[in-house]
Amino acid sequence: MQADWSTFWPKVVDATGETVYMVLVTLALSAVLGMAVGLTLYATRKGGVLPNRLVFAVLNTLVNVVRPVPFVIAIVALSPVTRGVVGTMIGTDAAVFPMVVVATFGVARIVETNLLSVESGVIEAARSMGAGPLRILLTVLVPEALGPLVLGFTFMLVALIDFSAVAGTVGGGGVGNLAMTYGYLRFDTSVMVVAVAVLIALVQLAQLLGNALARKVLRR
C-alpha cells in the first residue's frame, strides 16, 4: 500500500516537530542534571577540589551501571518509573523521561572527562589567589573546558536524535514512530526513506551548529 503524500507530508512535519521537541527538552534537562553530576564527580574524586570518597563511589557506580544498558532496554526497565513520574508510558513526554535519565549520566561522564583535561597549574593559580572549590569549579574549570564541553554536548545532541528515534519505535512519537508505523509495519519504503532523510538532516544541523559554536569558543 502506498501512502497518500498530500495527507502524509503534514504528518512528517508534525513528527519532525515532535522529535525536535523531545531532543531539545532532553538536552536542556540532561545538560543541567549531567553538569551537576559531572561537576560532583570531578570535585569529589581523590585529589579533587572537594574530595569525598562516599559521594564519588556512589555516583561513579551509578554512572557505570546506567551507561552500558542499551537504550531500548532502559525504556522498558524504566517504564514503571516513567508512569509514576510522567503519568503515562506512551507519547513524547513519556519518551523524554528515560532519555533524560540515560543522557544525564552520559553528559556527566563527558563533563567529568573534559574537566580532567584542564591543566592543574591553572587550578593552583586560582587557589593561590584565594579561590574556594565552588569558585574554582564555576569560574575556572567550566570556562577553561568550554570548547571541549561544547563538542561533548554536540556529541550528546546527535546521540539524542538517535535515542528519540529508538523511543519512537516503542510508542514515543516523532520521526522514529513515523518510520515504524508507516514504513516498517506497512512496508512502505518511501516513508522509511523520508524518515531517514529527516534524521540525517537533523544530525547534520546539530553537528554544524555545535562545531560553529565550539570554533567560536576556542577562537580558531
Binding site: E119, G121, V122, E124, A125, A126, R127, S128, M129, G130, A131, G132, R135, T139, V140, P143, E144, L146, R219
Partner: protein, 345 residues
C-alpha cells in the same frame, strides 16, 4: 626590619607506598625581612617547590608554624587561609594564565575574587598592566602574547590585589635569556618601586646574584646554607652551595684546568681574588708597577653579585726572578680575608 615571613621548624611529609613516608621539607626555619628578596636554590627534588607552597599554605605543613605578616597560618581554617592568600601573590614557571579570559580578564580575576566591583577591578587591572608595560595588550588573548609578555601578565595578575609578598616559582626557568632578563628587571622594579617582599625559587644562580638580598640553599628538604647573597657567593661552605656558586662564576683554575694553563703559560702563575673586601686586586696595578713586574691574564672569572664584583684573576708574571718574588711577598702582605694563591711552577 620586621620579618614579613617566618617559618619555624616547618616539616612536610607525604604518605608513600607501603606505609612509608616521604619527607619533602625537613625542619626548615627561615625569616624574610620586609622589602627584601630571598632566593631559594637547590637541585630538583630538594624541596624548594614545597617550601614555597608552605608559605601561602597551598600545602599545609605536617609540623611547625608559618607566619605571614605576623598572622599564624597554621592556626587558621581553610577560609582564613584563603583570605591570607589574597595578600600573597604567586607567579608560576608555566605562567598558568586562564585561556578563557583576556589579558584584562586574567588580571581582574583575583580582584573580582576579592569582591572588588567590576568597574573598580577593571581600573586597577589596567593600572597594574601599565606597571608591567602591557596596557595596550589588555584586550588580547593569552595565546596572542610572547612568552615574556605572558609572564609579565602573570606578574601583573599576582600584583593586582596589592599583596605584601610575591612568591615566584621558577618564574624565568622556561624563558630564553633575553626574556629572562625582561622578567628579572620587572621583578626588581616590583621590589624596589613597590617595596614588595619577594621569595623566589630557582636553580639559576644568575637569577640569585641579579635579584636577591638573601639566599637559602636547600638539599634533601633542609636549608644547608643561608645568608647574605654576596657572603654566600664569596665564601660558600656547603658542598651543594659550592656547586651552585661555581656554576655562576668562572672558578679559579684547579687540578687539570691548572695543568692546561701551565702548559700555555710557563711563567709564575698567581691567582688574585676579586672581592668587595679584598684589597689585593685594588693594589695590583700599583704593586706591579713598583716591582717592575709585567703580566699576562691567564684566566679570569669575575662577575657582578648584588652590584659588587666577585671572582678571581690568574696572572702569569714576567720579570726578573727577584722582582717577581718581591711582588708576590708584597701582594701577600696586603691580603686581608682572601689570600692570593701562588701557583708555583
Amino acid at each position: 626590619m620586621t620579618a614579613v615571613i617566618e617559618l619555624r621548624d616547618v616539616r612536610k611529609t607525604y604518605p608513600g607506598k607501603h606505609g612509608t613516608e616521604f619527607t619533602a621539607v625537613d625542619g626548615v626555619s627561615l625569616t624574610v625581612a620586609e622589602g627584601t628578596v630571598l632566593g631559594v636554590v637547590g637541585h630538583s627534588g630538594a624541596g624548594k617547590s614545597t617550601l614555597l607552597r608552605l608559605v601561602n599554605h597551598l600545602e599545609v605543613p605536617t609540623a611547625g608554624r608559618v607566619l605571614v605578616g605576623g598572622r599564624d597560618l597554621t592556626a587558621l581554617d581553610e577560609r582564613g587561609r584563603r583570605a591570607v592568600r589574597r595578600s600573597v601573590g604567586m607567579v608560576f614557571q608555566h605562567v598558568n594564565l586562564f585561556r578563557s579570559r583576556t589579558v584584562l580578564g586574567n588580571v581582574a580575576y583575583p580582584l573580582r575574587l576579592a569582591g572588588t566591583p567590576r568597574a573598580e577591578a577593571r581600573r586597577r587591572a589596567l593600572e597594574v598592566l601599565r606597571f608591567v608595560g602591557l596596557e595596550d595588550r589588555a584586550r588580547h588573548w593569552p595565546e596572542q602574547l610572547s612568552g615574556g609578555q605572558r609572564q609579565r601578565v602573570g606578574v601583573a595578575r599576582a600584583l593586582a590585589t596589592s599583596p605584601k609578598v610575591l612568591l615566584c616559582d621558577e618564574a624565568t626557568s622556561a624563558l630564553d635569556p633575553q626574556t629572562t632578563r625582561e622578567v628579572l628587571e620587572l621583578l626588581r622594579r616590583v621590589n624596589t618601586e613597590l617595596g614588595i617582599t619577594i621569595v623566589l625559587i630557582t636553580h639559576e644562580m644568575d637569577v640569585v646574584r641579579f635579584l636577591c638580598d638573601q639566599v637559602a640553599v636547600m638539599s634533601e628538604g633542609r636549608v644547608v646554607e643561608n645568608g647574605e647573597v654576596y657572603e654566600v657567593f664569596a665564601r660558600p661552605r656547603h658542598p651543594v652551595t659550592k656547586v651552585f656558586v661555581r656554576s655562576a662564576l668562572g672558578d679559579p683554575p684547579e687540578g687539570e684546568a691548572l695543568e692546561r694553563l701551565r702548559g700555555r703559560h710557563p711563567g709564575r702563575l698567581v691567582t688574585v681574588p676579586v672581592t668587595r673586601d679584598a684589597p689585593g686586586a685594588a693594589h695590583l696595578s700599583r704593586l706591579l708597577r713598583e716591582h717592575r713586574v709585567d703580566f699576562t691574564i691567564a684566566h679570569a672569572g669575575v662577575g657582578e653579585v648584588r652590584d659588587a664584583a666577585l671572582g678571581s684573576v690568574t696572572l702569569e708574571l714576567r720579570g726578573a726572578e727577584g722582582d717577581v718574588d718581591a711582588f708576590v711577598a708584597a701582594l701577600d702582605a696586603v691580603r686581608t680575608t682572601a689570600k692570593a694563591v701562588v701557583n708555583a711552577g
